[in-house]
C-alpha cells in the first residue's frame, strides 16, 4: 500500500531525507519515530502529494506520488502536524467543505458519522476558533477519515490531547488499522509501542532501525537488568548478591537500592531472593528494569539529551 524506494529530498543545500526505503502493507500500522527535524514530516508530505521528492520513488495505494498525484490524494487521509483549520468556520461546515472537495456522496450524513467517531457531535455547530487544542486535533482527524481513505497518514495524531482522549484516539487508530494502512509519526515511544505493528526509527533523514517493537527490544538487550530494594540500610547487600552465581554488573544506587544483571534465559532472581532473606533483610522489591524503547531510541539515534 505504501512503497518507498530511494526517497531523497533537499531543501536548498540541506538534505532533509536521504535515500529512504520502506514499505507498509494493508492492515498494518507503521510508526515513524525520530527526534525533531529527522525528516518525518518531509516524508509524509511527499507521500501525501504535497511536495515532490528530489529523487527516488514512492507508490501509495498503487499510484506514483509524482506522476499520479491526484489519484494518490483521493486515496489518502492526512492529518498535518500543525492541524491547519479554518478558524472562522463552523465544524460541520468545514468538514462538509472538505467532503465536497473529495466528492463524497451524501456528505451531510458522512460528516455526522465522522463527528460521532471522534466524539465531537455536540460541537458540530461551534466555531473551530473556539475549540480547544485537543478538539481541533480531533476535527483534523475527522477530516482525514471523511473519505474512508485506503491509506491514513497522521503526523503526531495524539499531541495536545488529554490522557482520556489519547486512549480513545489510539483505539480509533487501531480499529482503522485493521483493514487499512496507517503511517503515523510520533516522538512518544510508548505510543509507538502501544499502537504500532512495526516501527521505523529515523534520524537525520535516514532509517536507523526497522522492526517490530518486541524485536527491537530483544535485539538490543543481551542481558536483563533487575532492581532490588530492601528495608533499611543495606550496606552489605551488594556483597551478598555478588556471591550468587550468574549475577553480573552489581551497582549500588544512591537511594539504597541495588541493580544487577543476568544473562537472558538464566533467571537468578529466585536464588537472589533466597540469599537476601537468609541474610536477614526484608525484601520489598525485586523488579525487572527491561530496556525501554526510550533507551533503544537514544542508543540508535545517539542523542545527547539524556531524558529518562
Amino acid at each position: 500500500m505504501i512503497k518507498v524506494s530511494g526517497l531523497t529530498k533537499d531543501y536548498g543545500a540541506r538534505r532533509a531525507i536521504h535515500n529512504l526505503s520502506f514499505d507498509a502493507q494493508q492492515g498494518e500500522i507503521v510508526g515513524f519515530l525520530g527526534p525533531n527535524g529527522a525528516g518525518k514530516t518531509t516524508t509524509m508530505r511527499i507521500l501525501t502529494g504535497y511536495m515532490p521528492p528530489t529523487d527516488g520513488e514512492a507508490i501509495v495505494a498503487g499510484y506514483d506520488v509524482v506522476e499520479e498525484s491526484l489519484e494518490v490524494r483521493k486515496r489518502v487521509g492526512y492529518l498535518p502536524e500543525t492541524v491547519p483549520l479554518y478558524t472562522d468556520m463552523v465544524v460541520f461546515d468545514y468538514l462538509k467543505f472538505m467532503g465536497e472537495l473529495r466528492k463524497i456522496p451524501n456528505v451531510d450524513a458522512r460528516v455526522d458519522e465522522v463527528l460521532d467517531m471522534v466524539g465531537l457531535v455536540e460541537r458540530a455547530n461551534g466555531y473551530i476558533g473556539n475549540l480547544s487544542k485537543g478538539m481541533r486535533q480531533r476535527v483534523g482527524l475527522a477530516q482525514a477519515l471523511l473519505h474512508r481513505p485506503e491509506v491514513l497518514i497522521l503526523d503526531e495524531p495524539t499531541i495536545g490531547l488529554d490522557p482520556g482522549q489519547v486512549v480513545e484516539v489510539r483505539k480509533l487508530i487501531r480499529d482503522i488499522g485493521k483493514d487499512r494502512t496507517v503511517l503515523l509519526s510520533t516522538h512518544l515511544l510508548n505510543e509507538a509501542q502501544n499502537i504500532c505493528d512495526r516501527v521505523l526509527i529515523i534520524n537525520k533523514g535516514k532509517i536507523v532501525a526497522e522492526d517490530t517493537t518486541e524485536n527491537l527490544q530483544a535485539r538490543l538487550i543481551g542481558a536483563e537488568r533487575v532492581i532490588l530494594r530492601v528495608r533499611g540500610e543495606a550496606d552489605e547487600l551488594a556483597k551478598t548478591i555478588k556471591q550468587v552465581k550468574g549475577v553480573q554488573g552489581v551497582e549500588t544506587k544512591e537511594d539504597g537500592s541495588v541493580e544487577f544483571e543476568f544473562a537472558s534465559g538464566k533467571d537468578v532472581r529466585p536464588e537472589v531472593a533466597r540469599q537476601v532473606i537468609n541474610s536477614g533483610y526484608d525484601l520489598i522489591e525485586l523488579r525487572p528494569l527491561g530496556m525501554s524503547l526510550e533507551e533503544i531510541f537514544l542508543e540508535l539515534t545517539g542523542s545527547d539529551n539524556k531524558k529518562k
Binding site: G49, Y50, P52, P80, L85, E100
Partner: protein, 247 residues
C-alpha cells in the same frame, strides 16, 4: 469545474463573515450613491431649461475607478492567508488541481463583487422611472458587462499576486501598485512617442472601459484585453502555487 465551484462558494461565504469585505462594499456603494444623488439633482435643475437626461455612465465609471483601489483588499488574503495559516497544506493534499484552487478563489471574489454590482442596478432603475421614454438598456448592459470584465481582470491579477506572498499586506501593496500603474501610468508616455504609443494605450486599463463599453460600444479588442489579464492573473497564481510545492 465542480472543485472550482466548491472553493468559490466557500470563499464567497467567507466574505460575508469578514468586516473588511463589508467595508469594501460600503466604500463602493456610498460614493456611488452620493454621486448618483448629485447627478439627479443637477439634471433636475437643468431639465427645466431643456438640459440632457441623467446618465448612469459616470456612476459606473466611479465603480470601476473605486475597484482599482478597493479590489486589492478583497484579493490580498485569498491565497497568502492560506499559506500563512497552513491550510494550503490541506488544499494541496486534497484531490484538486492547483489551477482549480486558484480559479475557485478568483471566482469567489468575483461573485462577491457581482453581488455589490447587482445592488448598483438600483441607479439605472430609478433613472428609468424619471426619464421618458426610458433609458437605453443596451447601453446599461454593455456598461455592466464592462464593469464585470474590469472587475474580473483586476481580481484575477490580485489573486495571482496573493499566491506569491505569505503576507497579505505585501500582496495588497503590490496589487495596488500594479493597478495604479496599469490605470494611470502606462498610457502617459503614449502621446509623446512617435511609435509604440498605440501599444501603450492598448495596455492601459483606463482606455478599455470609459471610452467604449461604458458608452455602449463593445469592441473585440477590449474583450481580448480583459480576457488576457484574467488568463495572466490565473496563470501567475497557478505557477506560484506550484513553485510553493517545490520549495
Amino acid at each position: 469545474m465542480r472543485n472550482i465551484w466548491t472553493i468559490a462558494k466557500r470563499e464567497y461565504d467567507t466574505y460575508f463573515n469578514s468586516p473588511l469585505a463589508y467595508v469594501v462594499a460600503f466604500s463602493i456603494l456610498l460614493p456611488m450613491g452620493i454621486y448618483f444623488a448629485l447627478i439627479m439633482f443637477v439634471s433636475s435643475q437643468q431639465a427645466m431649461m431643456g438640459g440632457p437626461a441623467p446618465e448612469t455612465s459616470p456612476i459606473n465609471w466611479l465603480f470601476v475607478f473605486l475597484m482599482i483601489f478597493l479590489s486589492p483588499a478583497l484579493t490580498m488574503r485569498l491565497l497568502s492567508d492560506e499559506a500563512r495559516m497552513g491550510t494550503l497544506e490541506l488544499l494541496l493534499t486534497a484531490p484538486i488541481r492547483d489551477f482549480e484552487l486558484v480559479a475557485g478563489k478568483w471566482l469567489g471574489s468575483l461573485l462577491f463583487v457581482l453581488a455589490i454590482a447587482a445592488l448598483t442596478l438600483v441607479f439605472p432603475i430609478i433613472i428609468n422611472n424619471y426619464v421618458t421614454p426610458g433609458i437605453d438598456w443596451m447601453v446599461i448592459i454593455s456598461s455592466y458587462l464592462g464593469m464585470i470584465l474590469v472587475s474580473a481582470a483586476l481580481l484575477a491579477l490580485g489573486t495571482g499576486i496573493s499566491a506569491i506572498f505569505t503576507n497579505q499586506f505585501a500582496a495588497f501593496f503590490v496589487t495596488l501598485g500594479l493597478f495604479f500603474f496599469l490605470w494611470f501610468m502606462v498610457g502617459l508616455p503614449a502621446s509623446y512617442l512617435q511609435e509604440g504609443g498605440d501599444v501603450l494605450n492598448y495596455l492601459s486599463l483606463s482606455t478599455h472601459f470609459s471610452q467604449s463599453m461604458n458608452n455602449g460600444t463593445i469592441n473585440l479588442g477590449d474583450i481580448v484585453y480583459y480576457l488576457s489579464l484574467i488568463a495572466l492573473g490565473l496563470f501567475t497564481g497557478t505557477t506560484a502555487v506550484e513553485i510553493r510545492r517545490w520549495r
